[in-house]
């Protein structure tokens, strides 16, 4: 199939883009990398009246560090996360997870902010955002607001963005050297949507886990952060006991839907197994103070 008829606008400035969104609201759809929107257009599952292409807006193409935050502008392609050493140094979990985002051809064009705004429940970057506590910067003609990741994702393909808002930037906190991070995913084919993916981070101190983060993709309508499982890791001074408790918690609490590709039971099993593997990997990395570098 081919895309339906739409009006096409390619503003050269953020202001112009916001003006268009203010004017058209929900009848407009922002086109960034197109790796999520174009399939919807090609299949006519989406029929916006106006497509606002932001690829001409150079002002949105920045990947910089500021006061301990990695600031990712809306035009930044996913490929930059795996190619730029600074990203691995500052937010290792991003560099770990991006390998699982689609395929290189997708990542050459797809944007970080686009993936976040699309909010697919099985997508990797939303889980990363929730795991590290990213903040999403929404701009509109009436102003700017910062939305914490856990409040940003509200349902399948649904975010807290208003129809007149553009996700202009994603901010990821630079995680310190005593944190270790890991991201693992099970999918039918490498690069496919996650049947289950886990983002894990642990902070090492005094030979044990002092703090932890666990977020899950493909386990619900939005990325899920399991604070009880995180607490279990911190409570147990013995790593394997903590892992056992955290995995059991994941299996107990998560309620993924089953479908053609995997049953709910299998996904919960995956969640438990991946919890164990990612935590072990994250712990090794934290201990060797390599952050998230390939072990």
């Amino acid at each position: 199939m081919k895309p339906p008829v739409f009006d096409y606008q390619d503003p050269a400035s953020v202001e112009e883009a916001l003006e268009l969104l203010a004017r058209h609201g929900a009848a407009a759809k922002v086109l960034a990398g197109g790796q999520s929107l174009m399939p919807l257009l090609n299949l006519r599952l989406a029929r916006p009246e106006v497509v606002v292409d932001i690829n001409r807006i150079d002002a949105l193409d920045y990947l910089t560090e500021e006061s301990g935050w990695l600031r990712v502008g809306a035009r930044v392609r996913q490929r930059r996360l795996e190619r730029e050493a600074d990203v691995r140094r500052m937010v290792p979990l991003l560099a770990e997870a991006v390998r699982f985002v689609g395929h290189p051809q997708i990542r050459n064009r797809g944007t970080v902010c686009g993936s976040l705004a699309h909010a697919d429940p099985a997508a990797e970057l939303p889980a990363v955002a929730v795991a590290v506590g990213a903040r999403l910067v929404a701009r509109s003609r009436s102003g700017v607001r910062e939305i914490p990741a856990e409040e940003f994702f509200t349902g399948p393909l649904t975010t807290a963005l208003r129809p007149d808002e553009l996700l202009a930037e994603a901010r990821f906190p630079c995680t310190g050297p005593d944190w270790g991070w890991a991201f693992l995913e099970v999918s039918n084919r490498h690069g496919d949507y996650a049947l289950c993916a886990v983002a894990a981070g642990v902070r090492a101190g005094d030979g044990r886990i002092q703090d932890a983060r666990l977020a899950y993709a493909g386990a619900g309508p939005v990325p899920v952060r399991l604070r009880e499982a995180e607490a279990a890791l911190v409570e147990h001074s013995d790593l394997e006991e903590g892992i056992r408790a955290a995995s059991a918690e994941a299996r107990r609490v998560l309620q993924p839907d089953g479908d053609l590709h995997a049953s709910s039971e299998f996904r919960r099993h995956l969640a438990a197994v991946l919890t164990a593997r990612t935590v072990r990997l994250a712990w090794t990395r934290a201990r060797t103070r390599s952050g998230g570098a390939h072990a």
Partner: protein, 162 residues
């Protein structure tokens, strides 16, 4: 029904083309229909199968997920630029010699990915090759000969010092 059109200049395989096309027409369709460059194939139109893979500024992308007008101001490279029937690209030679294709539908997309991949990873492991090919679906070969072809291609390129 009103169909918004745009006139744009596209640079494809080093040549300049001026086309007037519907804004909603994908790059894959414009390459095939307006420029008669039918080497690029259309499979799933969702970015999953890889048959439509071309280069945008030298990087592999899905041409079915690009509006043609978005390619204005960029360099597009298609499989036609790799080689000709009389003068195959070493990667094409490797696919030919290793029976890395049967019906050939998925092949152009794979070639575009492989040439770019070997540029970045001149001596890849088998696992790396398989991961690089994960974005392509082939219904004929079962992939074994494709992997062999890529290994052979890597050797050929190394030997040529390319």
């Amino acid at each position: 029904m009103r169909e918004p059109l745009r006139t744009v200049q596209l640079e494809v395989n080093g040549a300049a083309y001026t086309v007037t096309v519907p804004v909603r027409k994908t790059l894959a369709d414009v390459l095939r229909e307006d420029l008669q460059l039918t080497g690029t194939h259309v499979g799933c139109e969702q970015g999953v199968c890889g048959a439509c893979t071309v280069w945008l500024d030298g990087e592999p992308v899905r041409s079915c997920l690009l509006l043609a007008i978005q390619a204005a101001g960029h360099r597009v490279t298609t499989v036609e630029a790799l080689g000709t029937v009389d003068r195959l690209h070493p990667v094409q030679e490797a696919f030919w010699e290793n029976h890395g294709l049967q019906c050939g539908f998925c092949t152009p997309g794979i070639l575009m990915t492989v040439v770019a991949f070997l540029r970045e990873h001149p001596a890849p492991s088998r696992q790396q090759i398989r991961e690089a090919l994960a974005g392509h679906l082939c219904r004929c070969t079962g992939y074994q000969n494709i992997v062999r072809a890529v290994e052979d291609a890597a050797r050929r390129l190394q030997a040529r010092g390319t």
